[in-house]
């Protein structure tokens, strides 16, 4: 339980550190996330036999 609590506390601290970044930096991170999300969606649509992404 203590390990789990420490894990959550580390995660919360990490999230807070992301919050303190500048807005442009956060938007650049979102751009990188976005490309990954699109790639994952495309992979999923290929796996399911669909020929178009959502």
């Amino acid at each position: 339980m203590t390990d789990m609590r420490e894990l959550f506390e580390r995660q919360a601290a990490w999230q807070a550190s992301r919050r303190d970044l500048s807005w442009p930096e956060k938007v650049r991170m979102a751009e990188a996330i976005r490309e990954s999300v699109i790639r994952l969606r495309n992979m999923r649509s290929i796996d399911s036999g669909s020929d178009r992404a959502e």
């Binding site: 992301r18 919050r19 970044l21 807005w23 938007v27 979102a30 976005r34």
Partner: protein
């Protein structure tokens, strides 16, 4: 996003739009940690809001600048941009009272945290509730301010339901 800011400012200077402000997830990130989003949402006030093709002049302006439509959006650099005309008294007020932020040296208008929260409350999907919680967690807006603004826009009951469901009071 800098390209988006430059385009929006050009549109306003040219009179294609009367005003604009980012809202949605990209605006939220000004106040919270980064979040995943596929596009950038922009509230716009247009000079002739009663036209049936209200967004046609915006799209035409984008095309002349080399930015082409892509589905319901216009691709500007890395971002598909969705233009959304103000659709309620709440969104009109959010636009009128938006902040002008600095985005890498370019002015970029962005909806304030309190209005982002109450617009999310009015839409009411799961991801909108997540947005409200993230804004509260960031300290960029408090429960009292949301309650006040929600009441001004007929959303007092929705806010009370949100509080009961998510804030344990």
């Amino acid at each position: 996003m800098k390209l988006v800011a430059q385009l929006l400012n050009e549109m306003r200077t040219a009179g294609i739009i009367a005003d604009y402000a980012l809202f949605g997830a990209v605006a939220q990130m000004r106040y919270t940690e980064p979040v995943a989003t596929l596009d950038a949402d922009v509230l716009v006030a247009v000079p002739a809001p009663d036209r049936l093709d209200v967004l046609a002049p915006l799209y035409q302006f984008c095309i002349t600048r080399g930015y082409n439509p892509e589905g319901d959006a216009v691709r500007v650099g890395a971002w598909p941009v969705q233009f959304i005309p103000t659709f309620s008294r709440l969104t009109g007020e959010a636009l009128a009272r938006a902040d002008t932020a600095d985005f890498e040296g370019v002015p970029l208008r962005v909806v304030r945290a309190d209005y982002l929260a109450v617009i999310a409350l009015s839409v009411g999907r799961a991801k909108d509730f997540t947005r409200i919680l993230a804004l509260l967690e960031s300290g960029s807006v408090g429960v009292d301010r949301i309650a006040e603004l929600a009441a001004q826009h007929g959303l007092a009951d929705a806010w009370q339901r949100f509080r009961t469901r998510f804030l344990n009071d």
